[in-house]
């Protein structure tokens, strides 16, 4: 009751204290408001500063959002969403060489090399950097040449440059010459093949060009020559026509009306002739030009010295020669016709002159006949007739004289003319001879060339046959050698085979013997293994028995130990457990766990023995009253008055004798009286451990009083624990979960 009163007093005291505190707090509320205001200000300043700093430093914002739970909501409200990672500088440099790479563009342009672009892009970077300042138009060519070079360098097969870049191949040749110094051995075959191919292509192209040019010039010259010949023939025709007309006009005795027509026709013929002659001359000049050009082309082609073109050249030369010959013939005809025309015209002029002379003489003699209109009657007077006859006689005499003179001069003239004619003939002969000689020379030369070409072909064919013969001979020889070698090898092989046969037989015998041996060994091994197995089984049996014996011994010793624990009587401790413990130690020498346990027994229990639970229980009951009496005494309350009060409390306070302890002790349960009732309950129910734990909670003088009892209880508990563990260990061993000597 006192305790209840005390508790009530305590409670009331506490309530009073609280009220006083509140009143005090109310009186100082004015000061507190200031403090509260200051605190609020500080807090808001902190938050504002945090927000501002988060706005400025994003890393700080991220850290705050990560660490403080709802800060991201607050910061988002204040500042807006967190900015993306745009401010961070790009760490990797993007190598954007595609638009700057002329090689790539060039390669994309040239389709045949497109598939190699990856290799090509990576490989020629150092030369590419050198070529970058070059203009793109040039760089494409360089790029293609680079491509051909690289492709050939990468692949072992020599790459033939595609037909689209033959110009590049030609330049490739040049660039290869530059690079030859660096890698002579590797690049040479490629370069040579490429060069040769390029050369061949060039030659073919040249030949083609040459043949086309030859054909063109031949065609043009032929055309021109034909035209010239045609013109010349037309001129010839015109000249002959004119001559005929002239002859007709002079010799024919036609009436005067038709004479004027004749003269007109003659004039027309003359005009025709001059026109035709002009045309002929123009055509001739054109033909000459064409022939000259053809000759120059032929000379150029001859200058190139290519064997394949020779027949073409020869044919062209022949054609040229023929054309020249024809042209000359026609020219000669025309010239002869012209000379004839000249003679005829001279003759006609002479005749006209004579006629005119006669007319003049007649007119001089008889002028009045001419001038007189009487003449028109056509009648002449006798005077006139007489004078005319006289004149005529005189004229006849004169003419006779002249004739005689003429006859004399005739011879001279004829001689002179003959001489002249001879000279002219000679000249003409010489000229014709020279032209004929030239022609013949040309023909001879052409024939010679033809013969040379034939001879060359023949020789080449002969050489080829010879080579073929040689090759055939070589193959025959090789075949023979191979045959012989084959025979030799066959003989060797047969020998080897025969040898190998013997070896085979030997190996077979050896194998058989080995097999027998192996079988025998196998049997022996199995027998041995069985023997070993049997021995092991026996040994393990022995070992198992030994183990069992040890376990039995351990059991006995543990049993003895636990039995010795029971020898405790009321107020007398057990016998000293030393001997039993020693027995246990002996029986489990090679078991560390058991040995450890055996050595874990407390010294006192070994020397003196432990008290039994019953004795402890009895002792506790006597203890209890003492503890109750000193419940209030501790280090601060220990005067005699306190003792008096404590005794009074013990006399007046009644608690349950035994009370079941709760699962968890609260502060109220730490009251000594409660603890004692719990401990008593535990002891009555055999739970020494819990009782000891509860008693351990006593403090102050009560604790000092129960100290010895607690020590004894501890000893007993320890010993019992060790013995229990040992028993369990032995059970474990017995059940075979563990070896004794582990």
């Amino acid at each position: 009751m006192l305790r209840a009163c005390l508790r009530g007093a305590n409670a009331t005291a506490r309530v009073r204290l609280l009220i006083t505190f509140l009143l005090q707090w109310a009186t100082i509320s004015i000061g507190a408001s200031k403090v509260v205001a200051a605190g609020l200000l500080t807090v808001s300043g902190g938050i504002g500063g945090t927000i501002l700093y988060a706005k400025w430093d994003h890393k700080f914002r991220a850290a705050v959002e990560k660490n403080v739970p709802y800060s991201d909501w607050l910061l988002g409200l204040a500042l807006g969403p967190a900015p993306q990672d745009t401010g961070v500088p790009v760490k990797k440099r993007v190598r954007n060489e595609k638009q700057n790479n002329p090689l790539f563009t060039a390669l994309s342009l040239t389709d045949p090399h497109y598939s190699y672009k990856k290799n090509v892009k990576e490989a020629p970077e150092s030369p590419d950097k050198d070529s970058r300042p070059v203009a793109t138009a040039q760089s494409i060519e360089e790029a293609s040449k680079e491509a051909t070079h690289i492709i050939s360098a990468i692949s072992e097969v020599p790459s033939v440059p595609a037909p689209c870049d033959t110009e590049a191949a030609a330049e490739c040749k040049d660039c290869h010459e530059h690079k030859e110094a660096t890698e002579p051995l590797k690049e040479r075959p490629v370069e040579e093949v490429a060069a040769r191919l390029a050369q061949q292509d060039k030659e073919e192209q040249d030949i083609v060009a040459l043949s086309t040019s030859l054909e063109d010039s031949l065609a043009s010259s032929a055309q021109a020559t034909l035209q010239a010949i045609g013109a010349q023939e037309a001129a010839l025709q015109a000249i002959t026509h004119h001559i005929n007309k002239l002859k007709e006009a002079m010799e024919s005795e036609v009436p005067p009306e038709e004479k004027s027509d004749q003269w007109k026709e003659l004039e027309a013929a003359l005009a025709d002739r001059t026109c035709a002659l002009n045309d002929a001359r123009a055509a001739l000049s054109k033909a000459n030009e064409a022939l000259d050009s053809l000759r120059s082309v032929i000379d150029k082609s001859k200058g190139l010295k290519m064997s394949t073109v020779r027949p073409l050249v020869l044919a062209a030369e022949e054609n040229l020669h023929n054309m020249v010959v024809d042209l000359d013939k026609v020219l000669m005809k025309v010239q002869s016709a012209e000379s004839e025309a000249k003679i005829v015209s001279q003759y006609s002029e002479l005749v006209n002159e004579a006629k005119q002379q006669f007319q003049r003489e007649v007119s001089s003699l008889t002028p009045e006949i001419q001038a007189n209109w009487k003449g028109l009657t056509g009648k002449l007077s006798t005077d006139d007739l007489n004078s005319l006859i006289a004149h005529a006689h005189r004229r006849i005499d004169q003419l006779n004289r002249e004739l005689a003179e003429q006859k004399v001069r005739e011879q001279i003239h004829i001689d002179a003319a003959l001489e002249q004619q001879k000279l002219e003939d000679k000249k003409a002969l010489e000229k014709s001879v020279s032209t004929a000689l030239q022609h013949v020379r040309e023909e001879a030369r052409l024939e010679q060339e033809k013969k040379l070409a034939e001879l060359r072909e023949v020789m080449e064919a002969e050489m080829r046959t010879q080579l073929r013969r040689q090759a055939a001979a070589h193959t025959d020889h090789v075949q023979d050698v191979l045959k012989v070698q084959g025979q030799e090898l066959r003989a060797e092989a047969e020998q080897v085979i025969s040898l190998s046969k013997m070896l085979e037989q030997e190996t077979r015998y050896r194998q058989l013997t080995q097999e027998q041996l192996d079988n025998f060994t196998l049997d022996m091994n199995t027998a041995y293994a069985r023997l070993k197995g049997v021995e092991e089984a026996i040994d393990s049996h022995v070992v198992a028995e030994e183990e069992a014996r040890k376990a039995h011994q351990l059991w006995l010793s543990v049993e003895a130990l636990s039995y010795s624990l029971k020898t405790a009587e009321a107020d007398i401790p057990t016998v000293p457990l030393e001997s039993a413990a020693q027995a246990v130690r002996d029986s489990c020498q090679d078991n560390d766990f058991a040995a450890a346990l055996a050595s874990a027994l407390p010294e006192t229990s070994l020397q003196r023995g432990v008290y039994s639970e019953a004795s402890l229980r009895a002792r506790f009951n006597s203890l209890r009253s003492v503890v109750r009496r000193v419940a209030l005494i501790d280090e601060s309350h220990n005067s005699l008055y306190q003792y008096f009060l404590s005794y009074l409390q013990a006399a007046l306070l009644f608690e349950k004798n035994q009370e079941a302890p709760p699962i968890q002790l609260s502060t109220e349960d730490l009251d000594p009286f409660k603890l004692l009732s719990y401990a008593s309950y535990c002891l009555e129910h055999g739970d020494l451990e819990l009782a000891a734990k509860l008693v351990n909670q006593l403090r102050g003088e009560a604790r000092r009083v129960v100290e010895d009892w607690l020590t004894e209880a501890r000893l007993t508990l320890e010993t019992r624990q060790v013995v229990n563990l040992l028993t369990k260990k032995w059970l474990y061993i017995l059940c075979g979960f563990q070896e004794l000597s582990s």
């Binding site: 006597s622 503890v627 501790d634 220990n638 003792y643 000092r704 009083v705 010895d708």
Partner: protein, 85 residues
């Protein structure tokens, strides 16, 4: 046995108290008879002194375990125990 300590202490207390009381009484009587003309006050003084001495001795004996001497070191758990109580 620690539980018997208290009993022993009480025994000592009582014995000592008896002795002192008796001695004080005796001395008081003696003094009263000899020097103070049979007043009672020396007797009561003496017995009172004797009783007081016995009380003090008993108290001292009972709290002797808790007396801290100069140079004693105290563990912190004592403070906890104080807080609990």
């Amino acid at each position: 046995m620690s539980e018997k300590e208290l009993g022993k202490k009480w025994d000592r207390c009582l014995a000592d108290g008896a002795i002192k009381l008796g001695t004080g009484l005796g001395l008081g009587i003696v003094f009263s008879v000899l020097f103070f003309k049979r007043h009672t006050w020396p007797i009561s003084l003496g017995s009172g002194a004797g009783l007081g001495m016995a009380y003090a001795n008993c108290q001292n004996d009972l709290r002797s375990h808790y007396i801290l001497h100069r140079g004693d070191k105290v563990g912190l758990c004592m403070e906890k125990m104080n807080k609990m109580l």
